[in-house]
């Protein structure tokens, strides 16, 4: 047996480790985010009227255009910062801190649904159906939260569990159809998204079902009963509710499940090589169903967040763009627990920052541009490697060995 580590000197291992990190996915994700912001800045400049005006006499006084351009970028990202992290213009500390709580509030469903999509990715499945799973879960949660009366606490738990079961079942249906018939999950999930939207709209339109009491022709439900609402975390000054706690717990569960448990090991095995898994005695079909159910359960947390975190009646666009944002979150987070957490927080900040960008006359949709370019760069590792002249992925495992030693205390010599 040949062993590398002991033979190699410590300083050489540092440089190998550095090379591994620089060529690794996390560093590439960081650069992609950076580049995304750069492209977003270009869009801000390009759509800034002062800059465009100054551009018309660029040769005469180039500084005007440059100042205007720089100003547009600085104003834009400063507004994003004020809206999503800390509002240094606010009158008091409570208001100054509100943005960060908003970021957490928006991030919660993205993280939860992102974990669901990420889990499916790891099993080799492309779950585009997060949107439908959220709608289906929210439909179930709303039925419980508006049409059932239960004591405080129990009501919330029952509604939440119902949502998770509903979302998981809707996810499992995808796995079942794939396992039984070989239908591609991308098409199946897209169709199920529309079907879920149809069912929800139908239910929200029928008075006998979930339509708002005394409501009109537009599909809308009642607000969830107070006993079934996710409780506020930081009192009435902030809108932050317990959804973020659920999301954080989900991150820990996801990490343990995928990295530490034999269940996650089997999920990954099927994801990498279903044939080998079958030969190794794994029931691949059942694994597809189980994985999609668990994926759906994580997405169900986003459904809880949307349906029970609300204080007003729900409308059919309750999933917003979470279903699709979840895909970008999972991609950016490379389907790992910490990655999804960070990506969810970033995209949550984008949503939280929208109002304050609107205030300075910048369309908050610019974050959509940033988001789009980030995932474009993420999706093409060779592109980023070419731009920054990064080394190719390394075959050495120095960092992995260190990590193993760090995380597994009892690892034998």
């Amino acid at each position: 047996m040949t062993t590398t580590p002991k033979a190699v000197k410590a300083d050489a291992r540092w440089s190998i480790a550095a090379k591994e990190i620089v060529s690794g996915g996390a560093f590439r994700a960081f650069l992609s985010v950076l580049l995304g912001f750069v492209v977003g800045a270009l869009f801000m400049v390009g759509s800034n009227e002062e800059f465009l005006k100054a551009l018309s006499y660029f040769t005469a006084r180039p500084t005007d255009a440059l100042t205007a351009g720089w100003g547009a970028i600085a104003d834009g990202y400063a507004a994003l910062f004020r809206g999503s992290i800390y509002n240094y213009n606010a009158d008091n500390l409570v208001a100054a801190l509100r943005p960060i709580t908003e970021t957490l509030r928006f991030a919660a469903p993205l993280i939860a649904a992102g974990l669901g999509v990420a889990l499916a990715f790891r099993v080799g499945l492309f779950n585009i159906g997060a949107s439908g799973q959220i709608l289906f879960g929210a439909l179930a949660a709303t039925a419980v939260s508006t049409r059932v009366e239960l004591p405080w606490g129990i009501h919330l738990v029952v509604a939440a569990v119902t949502a998770i079961i509903a979302s998981a079942a809707y996810g499992a249906l995808v796995g079942f159809l794939k396992a039984r018939t070989g239908a591609h999950e991308v098409i199946v999930t897209i169709m199920l998204n529309y079907i879920a939207a149809g069912l929800l709209t139908f239910a929200f339109r029928q008075e006998s079902l979930l339509r708002e009491t005394g409501g009109g022709g537009t599909p809308k439900s009642d607000a969830p009963a107070e006993t079934a609402q996710l409780p506020l975390l930081l009192g009435d000054s902030y809108m932050l509710h317990a959804g973020i706690v659920l999301a954080l717990v989900a991150v820990v569960i996801y990490w343990w499940l995928m990295e530490r448990s034999t269940i996650g090991y089997r999920f990954r095995m099927v994801g990498h090589n279903a044939d080998a898994a079958r030969t190794a005695g794994i029931n691949v079909e059942l694994t597809f169903v189980a994985a999609m159910a668990v994926s759906g359960a994580f997405v169900g947390l986003a459904a809880i967040n949307q349906a029970l975190g609300a204080r007003a009646g729900l409308t059919p666009d309750i999933d917003g763009s979470i279903g699709f944002d979840a895909i970008t979150v999972a991609l950016l987070g490379s389907s790992t627990a910490p990655g999804v957490l960070l990506a969810g927080l970033l995209f949550g900040a984008f949503k939280a920052g929208a109002p304050s960008m609107q205030v300075i006359g910048l369309s908050p949709e610019v974050t959509g541009v940033v988001q789009g370019f980030i995932v474009l760069f993420i999706a093409a590792p060779p592109l980023i490697r070419a731009i920054f002249r990064l080394p190719a992925p390394q075959k050495t495992t120095v960092v992995a060995d260190w990590w193993a030693r760090l995380t597994r205390k009892k690892a034998a010599k």
Binding site: S47, M191, F202, E365, V366, G368
Partner: protein, 423 residues
């Protein structure tokens, strides 16, 4: 790989019969017979075949709504029975049987919805066609891409790009034709990105497609809200192509006005669909394209440049999809709206599969979706209170049933979605 073990080599066993298609059709037929027929509405329904100003006027056809339900229900049951008999004799059911089945089912639905009212047939068919055009063109783009082995999830993004550029360029230059060209070029550029990532960088094609959709949505949303929303008069007011009736052809009863009183974008779709079919199945280029999509290595060994073939077919597919996007704006309503493709690109994706990667069947599937959109609108007018959400869901359900193989196994190009790694 093509080293298929020979079936003739072994003792053959009985192939199992599959009655899935017959069962699904039977259920639909019974629903029509019972719900629209037995428990249907007794009121009369008037089928208006012609519009008042048509040259050749076909008299209206007035009949009891439930009677139509019973009659068509019986026909559908008969078709289901034929399918079942074929299955029990292990004979293949031809694809057009489902088309006929679908056609009758739609007529029955119309009769049920319009009980006590009139069915403006030409109006519905015409609108269904116009609404189907973007979906059909998107699907043609998808077929061109998938036939050479590149899965194109980015049709949605291409429709949106086409719609945006057609409206904006058409408006700014005051030339709809320039808008049309811009739409095609823009969507083609998007296709080139997809092709480059998929072919050169070997990135997962589905991921690239999804990412491109996110990107286009982000960029057009931003430009719309930052620019078009404030400057709509100048940059988002293109108008539409004129409706140009084709002499004589548009006078054909029933189908004439629906088919031959249309805008340029619709006529282009009428041309592109058969031309694509011809190229794919009758020409050298089509043979090579299909070879690349089935077995790229084999194509390479006979001197076909796999990367180049894929690149150009995917790019041209983008041109066609971009045209579909233009049909959404300057071929229909004029101005661009935020996120106005609204998932039609994903429907096109389903249409590609539902149509088995075949231009004609895909066009028929697109028409099904066109019907579902116009029927929902129309049903709301003629009989309020009908749960139109279900009508919306029908085509999605049909697609789902089709892709899970209940209406016969669909076979994608063998190398669909697989990168070709040379050497």
């Amino acid at each position: 790989m093509s080293t298929v073990a020979a079936s003739t080599q072994f003792q053959s066993a009985e192939a199992p019969r599959t009655f899935k298609a017959a069962i699904v059709m039977g259920v639909f037929a019974l629903v029509v017979f019972v719900a629209f027929g037995v428990f249907g509405k007794p009121d009369n329904v008037t089928f208006q075949w012609s519009k008042p100003d048509d040259v050749i006027h076909i008299p209206d056809f007035i009949v009891g709504s439930s009677l139509v339900g019973l009659a068509i229900g019986a026909i559908l049951i008969l078709i289901a029975a034929i399918v079942a008999v074929n299955a029990s004799r292990r004979r293949r059911n031809p694809q057009w049987i489902s088309l006929i089945f679908g056609f009758f089912a739609i007529i029955a639905l119309l009769a049920w919805l319009a009980a006590g009212n009139a069915v403006p047939f030409a109006f519905i068919l015409g609108n269904a066609i116009v609404l189907a055009v973007p979906i059909a063109l998107g699907a043609m783009g998808g077929i061109m891409s998938e036939r050479v082995g590149v899965v194109n999830i980015a049709i949605e993004g291409q429709l949106l790009t086409g719609a945006f550029l057609a409206a904006v360029v058409g408006s700014l230059t005051d030339s709809l034709l320039l808008g049309l060209v811009a739409a095609m070029v823009g969507a083609a550029l998007l296709s080139m990105v997809l092709a480059a990532f998929a072919i050169k960088y070997l990135v997962d094609q589905i991921i690239v497609g999804v990412v491109l959709n996110v990107l286009v949505l982000g960029v057009t949303n931003f430009l719309y809200s930052q620019w078009l929303a404030n400057d709509g008069e100048r940059s988002n007011f293109p108008g539409t192509f004129d409706i140009t009736p084709i002499p004589f052809l548009s006078d054909i009863p029933i189908i004439g006005p629906a088919l031959f009183e249309n805008r340029l974008t619709t006529y282009l779709a009428f041309i592109i669909i058969p031309v694509l079919w011809f190229f794919l199945f009758k020409t050298k280029l089509g043979l090579r394209a299909r070879a690349v999509g089935e077995h790229p290595l084999a194509a390479d060994t006979v001197g076909i440049n796999v990367a180049r073939t894929r690149f150009w077919w995917v790019t041209l597919g983008g041109v066609v999809a971009g045209l579909g996007g233009a049909a959404l704006t300057i071929g229909s309503v004029g101005a661009f709206g935020r996120g106005m493709s609204g998932g039609q690109g994903f429907i096109a994706l389903a249409v590609v599969i539902l149509g088995r990667w075949h231009p004609f069947y895909a066009a028929a599937a697109a028409l099904l979706f066109g019907f579902s959109i116009i029927l929902r609108v129309w049903a709301n007018q003629v009989s309020p209170g009908i749960p139109t959400d279900f009508i919306t869901m029908v085509p999605y359900l049909v697609t789902l049933i089709a892709v899970v193989g209940f209406v016969g196994r669909v076979r994608a190009p063998a190398a669909d979605g697989q990168p070709y790694i040379k050497g």
